[in-house]
């Protein structure tokens, strides 16, 4: 007890100390305040989301209008990217590769958990900052350096890496394999290594802060589900990113030091047989997907946590099955490490081994179904407030169901032989992981924006943003299921070359048109975001959503250290909504003698 008090007084001393010397550089650039670092992650993530989205618009232009000529694009992008008004094949592959890499790692990992883990963990567990604010700052700057290097790879003479975001060898291991395998790949791999370091520094900090820095009374079973989700996300990252790093290290040795981990004596057109012997490209796939599958949940779990919180707050009801929610997060985290080979069913994997991975993969349906059931029962008979944040949270549940169901198809090794590497896969993972997590991110931004900037986002723009985005997401990705079932492979440059895929020309044009409309709608959101920082409606209430969690007990614009005085003590779980006739009871309210048990 006395230790606790000493610690706090020590902390607040530090806080005053920091305030004293705050300059523009220490406040906005090399800041060690978790809230500012969160905003840095968010803004950098948004820049990447715009660039990555723009890339998808460009390659959708090629897919939807393969015979049209856009000479004006040539003036903007230059001859390497656009020739005779058409995206060049090299540029097309560079675009799909960079789109994938950037969206998966820079937007939905750094932009999503970097933002909300940094912003919410100290505020919701009741800590003044992260366990190591300095490491936290380093985490952002490693990410920034990774961003700069990845961006610079767009401007090298031979183009950025173009072998797909999974970077399979030999395209990634052999410089002579394709133009993008040269300098572009070198920069890609350096950027990714820096990104891994950033994720590790961040993840270690999140784990230690959650387990070690909770305020008095904040037992593990009083943590909001956002924190539980971010905790499992961090554990997944800390255990799986080193494996990716190992895979990359071996790749660097193959590329630069003549080793044969992934390269064997294959014959390359124009080069002849390689001098390497004994290497196996499949080995890289094992190492990559051992990260790659947990990565899916690194992206998805933070969104799940935020959605749980937002659904409960805006239904004015306790979350249904709090312990079941934690249990399902835990089992998803465990299963995430045991299913990687379902990405490799067609690599010549032993069919018996395949059947085990089918079983483990389909098992994920159980915790996923528990979560969906609990979200729906939380909504059931709730006093629902349809705020834009709530709309996106409900949209997340919808997308998670639609995309999750197709996962049951793909998890089946027999069906996967037909569906592997088709548009069915694209449709599946974009809906369940990409768009769904993006919806979680939007929900989080709309919900916590008042705490971040002390302003409200414009609701009307929010509703327009939501409706066009959800309709667009389904219109873009639903038809892709049919294309995939018909066998249309992913990553092809021009489908009009194949008689069997010509039937999809109109559908492809439709998808591309919707994609452009949805992208334009995101610009509306960006306008809303930046306009509202300066001109948005001011937040007047400390707790605008009548929420129970600790972040709403801070001042309107909390300084470094979050609470001016003592950190409040916690007496109850965060979901006492509609209890004993009271609309909400914050975590800081002591339990009354007459109070019923929840």
């Amino acid at each position: 007890m006395s230790n606790e008090a000493n610690l706090h007084s020590h902390d607040s001393h530090d806080t005053n100390h920091e305030h004293h010397h705050e300059t523009f550089i220490t406040k906005y650039v090399f800041s060690q305040d978790h809230k500012m670092i969160a905003k840095q992650f968010l803004i950098t993530g948004m820049v990447w989301a715009v660039l990555g989205g723009l890339m998808s618009v460009l390659f959708r232009l090629q897919l939807g209008y393969p015979d049209s000529h856009f000479s004006w694009l040539e003036d903007i992008l230059g001859k390497w990217w656009v020739k005779d008004g058409q995206i060049t094949p090299e540029a097309y592959y560079a675009l799909v590769t960079t789109h994938g890499t950037v969206l998966v790692f820079f937007v939905l990992t750094a932009g999503l958990s970097g933002t909300f883990a940094n912003f919410l963990i100290p505020l919701q567990v009741g800590a003044r900052d992260m366990a190591s604010p300095f490491m936290n700052m380093l985490s952002y700057w490693f990410f920034f350096a990774a961003s700069c290097i990845m961006l610079s790879s767009m401007f090298v003479e031979t183009g950025p890496f173009s072998g797909g975001w999974t970077a399979y060898p030999p395209l990634s291991a052999l410089g002579s394999a394709s133009p993008g395998s040269k300098t572009g790949m070198d920069l890609w791999i350096i950027a990714m290594a820096l990104f891994v370091v950033s994720s590790l520094l961040g993840g270690l900090n999140y784990i230690v802060t959650i387990l070690n820095m909770r305020t008095k009374g904040m037992s593990m079973t009083r943590l909001p589900l956002t924190i539980w989700a971010l905790f499992f996300t961090a554990v997944l990252g800390v255990l799986s990113f080193p494996v990716l790093l190992s895979g990359f290290i071996l790749l660097i040795f193959d590329r630069n030091f003549g080793t044969s981990f992934y390269l064997s004596d294959i014959f390359v057109n124009g080069v002849g047989a390689l001098p390497n012997e004994g290497g196996s490209a499949i080995l890289f796939q094992h190492l990559f997907w051992f990260l790659g599958h947990p990565e899916v949940y690194i992206i998805l779990l933070p969104a799940m946590g935020m959605v749980s919180e937002i659904l409960s707050v805006n239904s004015r009801k306790p979350i249904f099955g709090y312990m079941a929610m934690i249990g399902s997060l835990f089992s998803i985290a465990i299963l995430a490490f045991l299913v990687w080979a379902h990405h490799m069913f067609v690599t010549g994997l032993n069919p018996f081994l395949g059947s085990i991975f089918v079983l483990l993969t389909l098992l994920i349906a159980v915790p996923s179904a528990i979560k969906v059931f609990n979200w729906l029962t939380t909504l059931w008979r709730g006093n629902i407030r349809f705020t834009p944040g709530m709309m996106f949270a409900i949209g997340f549940v919808s997308l998670f169901i639609s995309g999750g169901l197709t996962g049951i198809w793909l998890g089946n090794s027999a069906l996967d032989i037909h569906l592997h590497d088709t548009y069915f896969v694209i449709a599946h993972f974009h809906i369940v992981m990409g768009v769904a997590s993006m919806f979680g991110m939007f929900a989080g931004i709309y919900h916590w924006y008042p705490k971040m900037y002390g302003k409200h986002l414009n609701n009307t723009l929010g509703y327009i943003h939501f409706w066009i985005t959800i309709a667009g997401a389904y219109l873009i990705f639903w038809p892709m299921h049919y294309e995939g079932l018909a066998g249309m492979p992913r990553r092809y440059y021009d489908y009009s070359n194949w008689e069997s895929f010509k039937q999809f020309a109109d559908l492809n044009r439709f998808i591309s048109t919707v994609a452009m409309i949805v992208f334009a709608t995101q610009l509306l959101f960006l306008f809303n975001f930046f306009y509202s920082i300066f001109k948005g409606r001011k937040v007047t209430s400390l707790n605008p959503w009548q929420s129970n969690t600790l972040e709403w007990t801070t001042p309107l614009r909390p300084g470094h250290g979050n609470w001016p005085g003592e950190i409040p003590e916690v007496y109850r779980w965060p979901y006492d909504y509609g209890k004993d006739g009271q609309d909400f009871i914050p975590q800081t309210t002591p339990v009354g003698e007459e109070e019923s048990h929840h």
């Binding site: 606790e4 784990i207 080193p242 080793t259 044969s260 080995l283 190492l287």
Partner: protein
């Protein structure tokens, strides 16, 4: 409502916890390397060779350094600063000797015609090079840590030394020691 457990007030120092989590992370990296080695070993054209003899001596050296770092920690706790200083410097020195011996082991392999890297190298030897090389980098990180605290304690006029940092260095040092023993046994058994 549950009553908050007593563990709330007896928490481990957050920096130490940070280190333990980082150790878990490093373990995963070497687990990936060694499991990749196992997968690769069962494929064709795998070269079988004996480990350099110097690895036996380097194993002794790193175990010795674990003992000296433990003694250093013991001395600083009983406030015998001078003895602490000698033990910690000996630890760092032994760490450097260990790294040198590992590199010497590489040249021993080269003398036997086993090429670690470059064109014509076999994955079996390359794996040994990468895994042992990355372990050496982790030992060097420990040496740098010791040099860092030694230099910063020189600058400090009060000559105060932070025990938590030394405890962390000692934990990390034991970890790289155990990691090497694991790797050594791994390479001896699985070939």
């Amino acid at each position: 409502m549950t009553i908050v457990g007593s563990n709330e007030t007896k928490r481990i120092h957050s920096h130490k916890f940070f280190l333990w989590a980082a150790i878990g992370s490093i373990c995963m990296m070497f687990a990936a390397f060694t499991s990749a080695y196992i997968v690769k070993r069962n494929q064709s054209k795998w070269l079988d060779f004996d480990l350099p003899k110097v690895f036996w001596f380097s194993t002794l050296i790193i175990i010795l350094s674990s003992i000296t770092v433990h003694l250093a920690l013991k001395k600083i706790k009983s406030n015998e600063i001078n003895k602490y200083k000698s033990f910690i410097i000996v630890t760092a020195f032994l760490g450097l000797v260990f790294c040198a011996m590992q590199l010497f082991g590489f040249s021993e392999l080269k003398d036997h015609g086993i090429q670690l890297f470059g064109s014509g190298s076999n994955p079996a030897a390359s794996f040994l090079g990468v895994i042992v090389g990355f372990h050496v980098l982790h030992v060097l990180a420990g040496v740098i840590g010791i040099l860092f605290i030694s230099i910063s304690s020189l600058n400090d006029k009060k000559n105060s030394i932070n025990i938590v940092t030394i405890e962390m260095i000692s934990t990390y040092w034991h970890f790289v020691d155990v990691l090497w023993i694991y790797l050594f046994i791994f390479f001896m058994w699985i070939r």
